[in-house]
Amino acid sequence: MNPTAITFEALRPAIAEMSLGISICIVLLVDVFAGAARRQLTPVLTLVLLAVCAWLTVEMGFVPERTVLFDGLYVADRLGMFLKLAAFVSVGLALFYSQAFLARRGILGGEYQVLALTALLGICILVSANNLLTVYLGIELLALSLYALVAFDRDSGVSAEAAIKFFVLGAIASGTLLYGMSMLYGLTGTLSLDKLATVNAAHGAGFVIAVTFIVVAVAFKFGAVPFHMWVPDVYQGAPSSVALLVSTAPKFASFALVMRLLTYGLGADPTLWVQILTALAVLSILAGNLIALAQGSIRRMLAYSAIANVGFILLGFISADAGGYRAALAYTLIYVLTTLGSFAVVLLAARNDGEAEELDDYKGLGARDPMLALLMLVLMFSTAGIPPFAGFWAKLWIIQALLHTHHTWLATLAVLASVVGAYYYLRIVWFMYFDAGRSQSAIPRQFVIRSAVALNTLAVFALGIMPNALLALCTSLIG
């Protein structure tokens, strides 16, 4: 292979990662020199830089077709660019929604923003991975940043416990991933996903073990049953704003991981990983929905809801064709959009005298704060998959993909499980509207953040009435 001269033109498709790397340095430096007196500066600066990065990505990062960089380590395509932009937007929104919350808790530090940005960089690298090593690099960068974020409130014992669990289980998952990758390398002699994609998959028991180990790691990153143990603890133990971050943008990374590693790299013979994913998806949907019924804490409930939703995303991959991947992408996008909204409501519903941690704290919200309750109502009905909200189309497309590939029983199981799931979303509505509240303590107004969450929710509604654009986008990205 000829050594290529490094010119800007050659690196241009990687503008997202480069600009993000520079932004991280800027935020770090500014935060150090701005000092404690001007602490408000870094969060604003972070958002501005994120906007600049996104703009640069759109302006310069566009590649008309699949382009490979850095000797095949890195791939740029339209799907990748779109996923990066989606991750930019969702991290930006997550940071924006949590500003007031962090300020109140006294942890609105520059480090928080930097860690969020490095996590985002990890997502971008993962999205662009075209080699097993790049995959690993992205995963670790994302995971390490998230471990630190979960433990960010260092005085909180619960947070520390959640972070330790997350770290230990995450390290084991990384171990299995590396193990699977090394076996794959031993069997095929290559780390490149391009080459793996062309290798004939009939390799016997070793191959089965390697793929199984890799899929286990993927399941862990997604938080699919039975590798979901970290999800409820992290959602509940981490500061709410971190839970918001963990529950949204990394889903794009997980989606990309499956797209790059399984459907592309191991796409020659999908039978094996489809079988494992089927089991994971069914278990996630059943266990997630059933365990969520018993939760008393809103964040734990949302965690199990996330597990159930991940099951739905995985169902999209089971059909192993473009129709299913499209549906999975649409589901991921709609899920992240809705979750951003519902976690933002959890952040906003915190009263002057305490957090809104327990489901009971939502009793009477409809009377205390009609607007917030209305937003939550829309978001809950959307997650439950009831029209006229976006969540309905997400579920519909997945079911359609399953029926298209004759997985009728899986489709039936999925819809029946969502009836079980509807109960706990309805329970939030019931608490907010049908019950009288205990606390009369006022909820802070936070006008700007509220307006943003309202727009977010409006998008969920608008996509529910007219999902055309989103579906067309997913179709054009997956092909």
């Binding site: 009831i386 309905f392 819809v415 509807a422 579906l471």
Partner: protein, 506 residues
Amino acid sequence: MRGPALLSWIIWLPIGGGLLVLALGDARVRLARWVAVAVALATLLLCLPVWHGYDHTTAAYQFVERLSWIRQLHAEYYLGIDGISLPLIALTAFMTVPVVIAGWRVIEKRVTQYFAAFLILEGLMIGVFCALDALLFYFFWEAMLIPMFLIIGIWGGPRRVYASLKFFLYTFLGSVLMLVALIYLYLQSGDYTIAGFQSLPLGLSEQRWIFLAFLMAFAVKVPMWPVHTWLPDAHVEAPTGGSVILAAIMLKMGGYGLLRFSLPITPDASRELDWLIIGLSLIAVVYIGFVALMQTDMKKLIAYSSVAHMGFVTLGAFLAFDIQGATGTLSGAVNGLDGAMVQMVSHGLISGALFLCIGVMYDRVHSREISAYGGVINVMPKFGAFMVLFALANAGVPGTSGFVGEFLVILAAYKANFWYAFLAATTLILGAAYTLWLIKRVIFGPVANEQVAAMKDLDGRESVVLATLAVAVLLVGLWPAPLLRTMEVSVQHLLQQLSISKIPAG
């Protein structure tokens, strides 16, 4: 037909009006009330040109609006009506007006949200009846659950949470399987138009599964025995307006679904499994009739009576095949389908009126127990007259709308099998028994207690509401010809669809 998009107006005017009422907020309650009534009346008025312009000589869909909606899913915004949907649309628009007026003073908390919920619900329900695209149908069908869930849960009685959740989960469980069936049909036919589904050839085993999936959705909604248990709870706990809409319109969705989806899309499975529907319907008529007899709560009594009366709808709808077996021709089955349709309209009017009557009493005494009343006619003569009229209609006395539907269905049942007719006719005895016994205990006799003695007779608002309904009940009972004529051709068309097997040859 090119013209103003009337059906869209009838759907979106109440929804838009509801959002407007919601936006007015509880600070402007007086204005919001008037807006709500104006919107409900305007929607009813918009039905007039539709009723008038409807051509009852053709079974083709009319007032058709067809726009591309979701290209990727080949779903269309496709509206239109025929003789089966038109009476139900008119019924929906008609019944919403008394509901809005009845909530005028009675509702004290979250008034604007209450009116908004009913107006939005009205638009969604009319959408269900107008949709000719199955996905659009499902969209309205499910969306409808949200306002009803809130109506029962926010303004309902003491066990409202239980009742609202039971209502929602029951109907949701039924509908999701229908969704699977609809998507399956879409993958076969290539788009979501109901007409496309109806002309799609399907093997018998496919039809059987689809029929059962549809049945889950529609049987819960009707509700048929044994999936009726959500209804008494929902009715008892719902506020008066909620009960009225639930009984008058929502239950009709199930019957409508059977006529629009089950019969024409899966005619062969319907033929094979008609014993199931007929059996369940007869159980509903006879057994639930006895259950109604034993109720001590007025609303529960009317709820069970609804289940029994809706049994006539499902019975009438599925008699066709047995009539063909007995007489060799399907033409005798017209009576059954006509009866089912008339029964739906009639039951909508009568049960709605009865729930309003119970609401009138409840507002004064705050009890639904039969034993809390007695001799009401002594203090409320006007009200007593209305209540007796509606009760007689409920018992199916000739001259009222209740008679026409039941008579037609019993007539058809007789053609199919003597014993069907025999069992169905027991409702004339049972219905009379539980309704008249209710009347005897509540309305007649000496004044039971001081609370009853203190009841004031109807005010102007209540009188207008009940009088309008009374006129409608008598009109349909004495002169059902316009209603029957409206649906005649569409019913014939449906029978023709039933007579042709969809199983692909060879």
